[in-house]
Assembly symmetry: D2
Homo-oligomer: 343 residues x 4
């Protein structure tokens, strides 16, 4: 099978390339980049020398459909919706890593993204591909979830689906590495600004909030708005979502642990930590794992969940490849058997 990557020079695009180039079922048909079309990727990114010798091509939907069987759009929100048209019309498989096709409600999109929404029918048609929890893929248009949303939803799923928490008690205090801020050169991403620092940003305003809420409400209609704080910590990769919630009934530490253990037991990429153990960030970096630790504090009556992922893998390119595997019914781990780069 042949695949193409659009937006191949962004962080997610580069990771997609890295994963797909070791995938036994696919071959990379082309790398597309509007900003660097015609340039040699090995000259642009010296680490790619002797690995990929092709040139970057300017976007061309027909050429992509003629030469490949599936396309990954690793393009920014706002761009994907502009270029996806010919693929959707042709019912050509698209895995989109932007936020453009994640929300069902066009008005919600417009509110949070400050852009005009994609066609409503496309939004209805798209599958929200939270890969570990989405066994069926009806559509050819897969919206890959956001990085913060993935960590948060995987951390909350057992609690919310089983209706264990007070619906207005959920707080997410999430931390991300700098690769989450993208490759634009901004004040926030300047080394001198980010190094030896931690900063809170977009408090209650992050664009991943609506997709989290949309999914939580699908799982449990009672859910109320959650408190959602996002921050930058001085690492390149990784997201840690620390989640607090109050149970809506009497529970024990042991019951909570068993809820998660049982729920995630057979899922290859989710690793519930032993009792009283919390994952650190690095134990998933470089891999497609989501590791989850949890505790119930009897004194305060508070549940605490810590969910960690690599934002570029499980939070972007890894989950996208997993979505492709599921869509084509390949082994879901193909191309993703990555041991974390712990040191």
């Amino acid at each position: 099978m042949k695949v193409s990557i659009v937006g191949a020079t962004g962080y997610s695009g580069l990771e997609l390339f890295r994963l797909l180039s070791t995938h036994r079922e696919v071959e990379i048909a082309g790398l597309y980049s509007q900003s660097f079309k015609g340039e040699n990727i090995g000259e642009l990114y010296p680490y790619m020398q002797k690995i990929y010798n092709g040139d970057l091509r300017g976007f061309h939907a027909e050429k992509i459909m003629a030469t490949s069987d599936c396309v990954f759009l690793a393009t920014p929100s706002g761009v994907s919706k502009e270029i996806a048209n010919p693929f959707i019309q042709a019912n050509f498989p698209v895995i989109d890593l932007s936020g453009d096709f994640r929300l069902k409600n066009p008005k919600t999109y417009e509110k949070w993204y400050q852009k005009s929404a994609p066609k409503s029918e496309w939004l209805q048609q798209a599958t929200y591909g939270l890969a570990d929890l989405s066994p069926h893929y009806a559509s050819h248009l897969i919206a890959n979830p956001g990085c913060y949303a993935t960590a948060t939803l995987l951390g909350l799923a057992p609690l919310i689906q089983n209706d264990w928490v007070q619906p207005d008690s959920v707080i997410v205090d999430a931390k991300s590495g700098l690769s989450g801020a993208g490759k634009m050169n901004t004040k926030a991403t300047h080394y001198v600004e980010a190094n030896e620092n931690m900063s809170v940003y977009k408090v209650n305003q992050h664009q991943h909030i609506p997709e989290v809420m949309q999914q939580l409400k699908i799982w449990n209609k009672k859910m109320q708005p959650i408190q959602f704080s996002t921050s930058l910590i001085p690492v390149t990769r990784g997201i840690m979502a620390t989640i607090y919630a109050k149970p809506n009934k009497k529970i024990t530490q042991q019951e909570l642990f068993e809820l998660y253990e049982f729920y995630y037991e057979k899922m290859a990429f989710i690793r519930v930590q032993p009792k009283n153990c919390f994952p650190d960030l690095r134990q998933v970096v470089g891999s497609n794992y989501c590791d989850i630790g949890l505790t119930y504090n009897e004194e305060t009556g508070m549940i605490m969940i810590v969910s960690v992922i690599d934002n570029l893998l499980k939070g972007a390119a890894g989950q996208a490849v997993q979505n492709m595997n599921l869509f084509y019914q390949f082994n879901q781990s193909e191309g993703l058997r990555l041991s974390p780069v712990y040191l």
Copy 2:
């Protein structure tokens, strides 16, 4: 006035030296270190060459009292209580940076520190020196607050003292740099372990919890146990305490902001941030400031407070010097007019 520092080679001791050596009202009489007695500090710490040429002395209470007017104990919890005896007997001024004299209840001390408690009468006698909020110093024994406790209490004081929050709703998600873990060489402080990582530790078990609770209950008897999470982020210095709480009445963003503005207006070392601004960690590092940002989310009904300090200054040596200034009625900023080292 002459002062001595015991435990001068720990992180807090070194910072005390740095601050006191520019203080116009005091002279450093001696640096004491049991582990390095007899050694030259410039050889041990080359950055001190041409700054301090004296040798480190072995602890000797009588010598300290004979040569100085005040002693700083920058010794670990468990050590301070063992060596403080002669000073307390003699009513000699002690500023202790350990946790040994912070708690009033000996049983609480024994539970959280896993050590036998200091004499109960000493605990009663000690002043808990939360410097910005403690104008009167009745005792010669000042217990300098813990770093996490300082960031948390300064972040919560206006809310709790004015009884604005539901007493069982407080959550503190606190992050600290590695200097907070001390200078012991452990797995957790190994560069390869801490770098590019974030880890949660001592969840609901940190020994600063009881001093926070003790103070919150002094301010407001209704207070219930708080959820308190501590974590390490890969920076050398700094603590960010992110605090969540639910109001016990209808409030607005503006009222919340005014509460803090008014409360902290005249305090030299507390800087409430403009509306919708949160402090980043580095804007206080290298200084004695505590910067506080806040917001009220009308949709979730949640207050969020971000309080940042330099754990070695406002969270240790800086506050200790401020306590000395207040005790001796010097200008409280003397020795502490430090602009943050923002870059």
Copy 3:
């Protein structure tokens, strides 16, 4: 084929495991660790959960020989020589990552390692496995080169073998990440010590100097002692060796470039950079590549070479796997098709 790893919980051992677990020609028969025998590796290193479920075994040479075809000794210098005996006696294939079998002269070993030397006949028998330049493996005992030595020798080989430089003019200014200092908790590896710092250590005294000199003299008898400085920079992985030398004849930039281009053209893991381009450290991290940039300064008459590797891969585990591939005549890239983790 089956392989065992002794010293599996050190940094090199963990990396060996990561590489070998994706190698199509081998199966891992056992992980051995004296310090952690009997422990579950997933509990010890949570990042290994769901990846390897076996327990760590105490060292047992007979068991290893009974269950595997080849053993990797990822043990410290001084330990390998103590445990290698039964394997060498049995002519059982050993790939040793320590410094114990790299030097031919026992006296040189004793001078630089401050330990009694292994048997002289073993030293004579061992192959110094500088993998990219060692096509023939006569011996069952392979001494994997040191990390600094690998970066330096690959950087110097074309110049020295072709006798282009003044034999007393070579200076190596090498920088290493902290993983090079090993997993011992020391003052030098404490985060607060290493972070935001750079330090020079073992100047002209590093134990990799004699293996570099031994190899340089094999290549060119005229070679004189080289100046060799080693330092730590605040990164986890990576070595950059900056090499200066004066040519012994008139050369041009173009000739120098062609010398390297031609020499390394067909070598899969060595990437000579385009003219006027120097590699940065990260462009090889996570891979088995050695990237080399070079320039000749006509004004000063000085050649400058920059050679970068991942110290744990090309400088340890990666090269060890490459040596195994060469020894068994597998494809030399098997298990090593790793794209650098550039971001």
Copy 4:
């Protein structure tokens, strides 16, 4: 005395403010910034809240001369020469931190800076203010040396002035933190690019080379071009210049050490390290010190010098204040009694 700072929002300008605000002999008359004129510095840089409440002013030479006694130009190379005119005409004291007035030869300026040169007579008139070695200040125009140049020249002065080295043997391998790259948001300064990385840049092309050569030739006419490599390491502050040279006569380790000890004995800001000790970067960061370690390798016949400074202090703002102190015959340490921020 009153001083103004032009370019107050750059890294050097901010540091100048920090130093001068504690200087007992001066008062800050105004902060000037063309890019942020009219803005409040506390809003722009929250760390400055409650420290400086004035607004930033647009550049206005007459206003500066009317309100102050001395001006610091913390403006980029190419800008200083454009705005310095009225000050120079009026013989008003200028301390310029850019490269514009450091070189005597206009053609050299044009070659290295790729800009038209300042008036030749201004270049002749300017004092190159290598503060520790420049006791006499004839001119009102002081050119503050570059950061790399300062570390290199202080490291080499005793050797070159005493004619100890072969004039074509000097190699400087210098490393700098990211603040040296300035506050522009570029690919090189993006956190994801710089973190966990080290990169070589401007090899033999750095614009500090000509001022080093100019000074070395003043000290010793025989000096030939030096090899000068510059690189970025992932720290915010600090420069380490590692210098290699061959002696032109028989020397011993002891003689070399005594040469430096004697030369720098009385200089407050230069600290020659004890025998066999090299300074690490952090032991000067936050201070105006230059620490120098040295060794002579009898086997290779090579001298090695390691010189470390804080690039924003001794390499910029600190030396500028020292130059002001010397010019006005204040105590040269006033405003500069900063203990390094070692942790």
